[in-house]
Every structure is written in C-alpha cells, then in structure tokens.
C-alpha cells in the first residue's frame, strides 16, 4: 500500500513533455527579468546559486541581481560583463520540462540566435511597449521565421510603463501582424506583460482586464507541440549498422538512427536510397523492446525482410513519398566564421548522417536582416551575414526543403583546413 501512494506522487513525470524555446534580446528590454521570473516561480534557481550571483552583483555595484551571471560561467564573460555564447537554462513545471536557449543581444548576435533557434519549438520575442516595433524586433522575427520555429510569442513588455493601455498593445499587435505577414510563421501569439511586476507572466494580470488571452506560462505549458515534428514524410537516415557477433543474434542486421520524419510501422513497404532496393520492415526495436510503430524524433533500430547492403548515410523511405536527390542545391546560409566565405571555394559538409564536399557556385544576394531587403551589389559574405547561395556537391544528397523538414533540410559547412563549422544552411 505504502508503495503505491509513493508511486502516484512521483509518477506524473511520465506524462511530461519537452518544450525548447529561445529568447533573444538586449540587456534592457527585460529579458533577464522575464527569464528570472520564470525560473523563480518554478523554483529552478537554487539558494546557493542565487547567493553566489547576488554577492557578485553587489561587488560589481549592480542595482539588481544580474541573472546572466547564472550561466555566464566563463571568466572572459564575467570580466567583460558580456555573454559570449548561447546560454542554456532549464526549468520544469508539473506539465513540461523547458530548455531555454538564451541568446545574447549584441555580440555575434545572428550567429548565436541562429544556433539557439535551430532546435527550438518556440521563440519568445520581447517588445518594449514604449518603443513598439523596432529594428531588433524585425531581426528576431525574421530569424525565427528563417529557422522555421513553429511558434512565435510576442511579449509586449513593460505594460506597467504605458498605464496598461489596451490601445498601445493593439497598435503594436497590428504592426507586428503586418510585418509577420511577409514571413512564414505558422503560429503567432501576442501577450501584454510586465516582467518586472509579473503581469501575465505566470499569473493573470489584474491590471489588464481587457486582455482575454492566456498568460505566457499558460502558453508555454499548453501550446500544441505534437505537430512540430513532421509526421507525414517518412525519412529514416541510417546512422549506424548493428551487427552483433553473438550466437544468439547471429543473423541480426539492424539499422539504427533517429527518425527524421513520418511514422514507420512494422510491415511497411520501404525503399532504401540511393540504391532503390525495396523491402519490408520486419521489426522495430528500442533496446530489447519490440514496438509496432516509430515516429520522429525517436531513436530506434529497424530490421528489414531482405538482406540488402545498407550503410550509414543511406535513407529508408516510402516508395510513393521520396525526398529530392540532387547535387545542386539552393541554400539560405548563415555565415558563422570570422573568415569570409570564399565564393568558388570548396567546403566539407554534413547533412543528416552524410558527409560530402561542395563548391560554392554562386552568391545570389545577401539579406539585410533589419529590413528584409535584398542586397545584390555586395556579395562578400562575412560572419553573421545571411545569404542566398547555390552549391554543387560531390554526390547527390537526399533532402527535403527546410520548410518541410528541419532535419533533412539543414546542413552545415566545414572549413576543411581548420575543421571549424563555418556555415549553417537551410535548403530552399
């Protein structure tokens, strides 16, 4: 009896989902205050952590406790008072576990936001109610859209400083809707908040009775993320081939990987690319547990009915729904390295579980990320630039458009001399 009661109290975690979101902004738009409130209210800051940063803030003469100190763990960051890198923070409520990719507002802005956004389900964009839509707002929105973040939540912050005015909120909302209509964002929300006073962050505001929508926390806990993964186009990039040298599993030949799209079922007719051989799924395993179906983003091992030569980099798909296969690709690239991209240069690339090489064939245009204007007369791609380019690869890649599938539609470029990751690209 005693056991079963304990079980009930601790078993709710078995229903929790995982939501990854990114926040972007500069020091004074209230981002730290907002994150601080989410962390405090979910009891995710520990006493010893808080005391340590309180002490450091006091020593530096800061008026408020500087939450960036929680994750700005590198000496250089503390010395210069800047965040160098994407900071990952974690908190949980009984409903969901959250991973925040918190990106700094100034240094290496684009590079960091692109990195943080690449795995996010949701993006929080802070807008200062006194200033409305500014350049930075457009930049955040554009990058969220470019990186295919399914949900965007605009938090109109500092509502306390505009007397909680509905008119101010509605005006900003209208401007944001107009701007966003030029971009591809699937799901947009607007929440009037005061991060400092706590209005509509976790608790519903008593100062804005005109607002009938959800609090930010309610959105974070309830936004439907089940459809964020592609469950339509079956894509299984083979990552690793399991061939146990054990008597018991003598003939076992398993293909392991993470499902990049769709739902695979035992018995499904499948095609292996690039060879084009067909077979049937004999079994799907997670460890010694055989399952009936598997979907993105599960990591599984499959066996097929027929003995086909399959190796890492191959892709298992359905016959009537196949990815593109080509050596010529159109990309939107974000340049991440201090050395400019070399037009006509050769780079190594990684795409799903594949390695290849490529040559940069053409720079079509750069994007001014503040105005969305195309720049066609300056084709030098420097760090933090976003550009439309074409490449040719050494062998055909099996891909989908990024807007269709974030896994099969993304790739990275690598400098072959330094091995550094220099470009992040989305297939257009």
């Amino acid at each position: 009896m005693e056991n079963s009661t304990t079980k009930n109290e601790t078993s709710s975690y078995l229903d929790m989902e995982l939501l990854r979101f990114s926040t972007a902004g500069s020091v004074d738009d209230g981002k730290s205050t907002l994150i601080g409130r989410l962390l405090y209210d979910s009891k995710s800051i520990f006493a010893d952590q808080y005391e340590a940063i309180e002490e450091t803030s006091r020593r530096k003469g800061d008026e408020n406790v500087n939450l960036a100190l929680l994750t700005d763990g590198l000496r250089a960051e503390r010395e210069q008072g800047i965040t160098i890198d994407v900071a990952y923070r974690y908190f949980a409520t009984p409903k969901r576990k959250f991973i925040i990719a918190d990106t700094p507002g100034h240094i290496q802005y684009t590079r960091n936001m692109v990195t943080g956004a690449s795995t996010s389900n949701l993006s929080i964009i802070l807008v200062d109610a006194r200033q409305g839509v500014v350049e930075q707002t457009c930049r955040h929105t554009f990058i969220s859209s470019l990186l295919g973040i399914p949900h965007v939540v605009f938090c109109i912050n500092k509502m306390d400083l505009v007397d909680y005015s509905e008119d101010v909120f509605e005006k900003i909302k209208k401007d944001l809707e107009a701007f966003s209509s030029k971009l591809e964002v699937r799901d947009i929300h607007f929440v009037p908040i005061s991060a400092l006073k706590g209005d509509n962050v976790v608790n519903k505001s008593e100062n804005m009775s005109w607002y009938q929508g959800s609090t930010l926390m309610y959105l974070l806990e309830n936004i439907h993320i089940g459809s964020d993964y592609n469950h339509v186009d079956c894509r299984f990039p083979v990552q690793y081939v399991v061939r146990p040298q054990l008597d018991e599993f003598h003939d076992f030949r398993g293909y392991s990987g993470r499902i990049a799209g769709g739902i695979f079922k035992k018995g499904d007719e499948v095609v292996v690319l690039p060879s084009g051989f067909s077979s049937k799924i004999k079994s799907i395993h997670i460890y010694n547990n055989e399952i009936e179906e598997a979907f993105s983003p599960m990591s599984v091992t499959m066996t097929l009915e027929d003995d086909i030569d399959i190796s890492r980099g191959d892709m298992i798909v359905r016959e009537n729904n196949q990815p593109n296969a080509s050596q010529d690709l159109d990309l939107m690239v974000c340049w991440l390295n201090d050395k400019p991209m070399i037009n006509g240069g050769k780079y190594a690339l990684k795409h799903t579980t594949n390695d290849a090489r490529c040559i940069i064939k053409e720079v079509k245009y750069k994007v001014n990320i503040n105005t969305l204007h195309r720049i066609e007369d300056d084709k030098v791609i420097n760090t933090n630039d976003i550009a439309r380019i074409t490449i040719r690869t050494t062998r055909p890649l099996l891909f989908d458009k990024y807007s269709r599938n974030r896994i099969t539609g993304s790739l990275i470029l690598i400098n072959e001399a330094t091995n550094e990751t220099v470009g992040a690209a989305m297939i257009v």
Binding site: G73, T115, G226, I286, N288
Partner: protein, 301 residues
C-alpha cells in the same frame, strides 16, 4: 486519435542515444568515462540500449584516484561484469608513483585535480580519439557553455571562447591527428531528469546514494565521511548521522547531505524541494569562482 508525442524523458533519451551512435560512427577509438556515479551509469545504460543486441562497442574507462568510496568500486566491478563491458582503469596512484604528479598535502589535500594528468595519459596511451562523459550543463556554470561535441587540442585543452557552433542535430567531430573530443550525451538533462530516468528504467545505483547511517564529521559546513584518506583536525569530531550522497566523487572532496531518502521515489521528492545545487557539496568547486573552468581548460572531465 492516437497522439504521436514523446515524454520529456523519452525525448532526452532519444537525443542521448542519437549522440552515442554518432560517436560510434564518427570516431575510431572512443571510450566511455565511467566513475560509478549516477550520471555515468545513466550514460552507460543508454549505451547498452543504443547498440543492442550488440555489446557497447567501446570500453569503459575509470580514472581511479585511489580514494574512492568502497561502495563505488564494488558497484563498478559488478556493473561491468553484468553488462560484459571492457573496463580500463587509469590509476592516479600510478601517476604519483611515476612522479608525473605530486600529491597535495595538508588537511584539504585531494587527488581530484591530479586526475586530469592521469586522464590525459590514459587517453594518449590507448589512443582514444573521443571520451564520452556524463557532464550536464545545469551542474556548474562553466559547463553551461559546453558543447555536446567538445573539441580538445593535442594538449587536451579546452578553448571555451573558440567553440564550434552546434546547430540542429548535426555534430562536427572532425579533428587533426593527436586531437580528441569530449562528448556529453546528457548535456540537456537536469539532476531531476536523471533521477526520474533511473526510477523509470529501474537502474541500479551504488548504495551510498540512498540514506544510510555513516560515521561523519563536519568541515566548513560540509558533512564529510570519515576515511583513512582524510586527515581530521582535532576539533572535527566524528559522529553518526543518517546521510546520503548527491554526487559521488573522490572521497576527499565529496560531502554528504542529511537525508532519510532510502528509495529513488524519496530521492525524487527530496530533489524537488532541494534549495541547493548538488555540487554545493563539492569542495573541489569551491577553490575559486572559476575553479571548474580552469580545470576544464587543462583537460579535466
């Protein structure tokens, strides 16, 4: 309608297993750093799942300070035998005997920092090109900026300001001769996730994680286990307390907490209301504000 959602633990597991398989694919001679602590146990458990029905295709490596809790070593040997893994032990005592490191002296003497030399020697001796570890980003602030795939130069050094950006689930493990990688599959896990996963998967852990009676003494507010490796001051009185360990490191620098949590369920309840981080009991982190970063730059775990 059937829902195609993973729970947070399933998604974290899928991510970690994907990373373990990337390691096996991208590196020629990886190894899994295994301390007998809960985090490395969880990583080893997922490695079993990742490569089933084959065995884990790389050895487990334990950097043994010689000052471990007896329970940890017993657990380690038992665990390795059960899963049929290959265990390599890098011995700090041997590094001391060979004169490569000098033992610290005094009351706070610890072999914790010496492990770095033994670790790098072991990596070099066996020509490992990747060492998988159980570090998590929520543990310590220098670890918050760590990559899943973390590059180390030919001296084993970490250059935190010059890390490769990591996007989507694409991991760049390219390197030159003599360099290696550290890979952290459970970067995104919190202490709570680890305990929930241990409960869900029914994973065995060393007994000292659970509450038990122990001979202890108090040093600078930390409950330390009495041990032949630690020199007690005259005013550090030995008493008996009901304690458990939240982390398991070298016995000389790992403190216990007072606790009645004698089951995983109770530990989860305890973690849920805990107001200090688990590394709050680690005196190795308290040496300076950047203690962890400094050790990591030199090649620490």
């Amino acid at each position: 309608m059937k829902s195609y959602n993973l729970t947070h633990l399933e998604e974290l597991e899928a991510e970690a297993i994907y990373i373990l398989r990337e390691v096996a694919s991208q590196f020629e001679k990886p190894a899994l750093l295994f301390s007998g602590g809960k985090d490395s146990i969880v990583v080893a458990h997922m490695a079993r799942k990742a490569f089933w029905p084959a065995k884990i295709p790389f050895p487990l490596v334990h950097i043994d300070t010689g000052h471990n809790f007896t329970e940890t070593i017993e657990f380690r040997d038992d665990f390795v035998q059960k899963i049929g893994a290959n265990l390599i032990v890098g011995s700090v005592q041997q590094s001391i005997n060979e004169g490569k490191v000098v033992e610290e002296k005094g009351f706070n003497a610890s072999r914790n920092a010496l492990q770095t030399v033994t670790l790098l020697d072991t990596i070099e001796q066996y020509k490992f090109d990747c060492a998988i570890g159980g570090a998590r980003r929520d543990e310590e602030k220098a670890r918050a900026k760590e990559r899943f795939f973390s590059h180390r130069d030919e001296f084993g050094q970490w250059d935190p300001k010059n890390q490769r950006p990591e996007l989507w689930n694409i991991f760049n493990g390219r390197k030159d001769m003599g360099e290696h990688f550290r890979v952290f599959p459970i970067s995104n896990w919190t202490e709570m996730d680890v305990w929930q996963y241990i409960l869900k998967e029914n994973i065995e852990i060393p007994s000292i994680y659970l509450a038990h009676q122990r001979e202890v003494f108090i040093r600078e507010g930390v409950i330390m286990s009495t041990s032949s490796f630690i020199q007690q001051r005259d005013n550090e009185v030995t008493t008996n307390m009901q304690v458990r360990f939240r982390t398991i490191g070298d016995a000389t620098c790992t403190g216990a907490v007072e606790s009645n949590a004698d089951s995983i369920e109770k530990i989860i309840e305890e973690v849920a209301v805990a107001r200090t981080t688990e590394r709050g009991t680690r005196s190795d982190d308290k040496r300076s504000e950047a203690a962890m970063e400094d050790r990591k730059k030199q090649g620490y775990f």
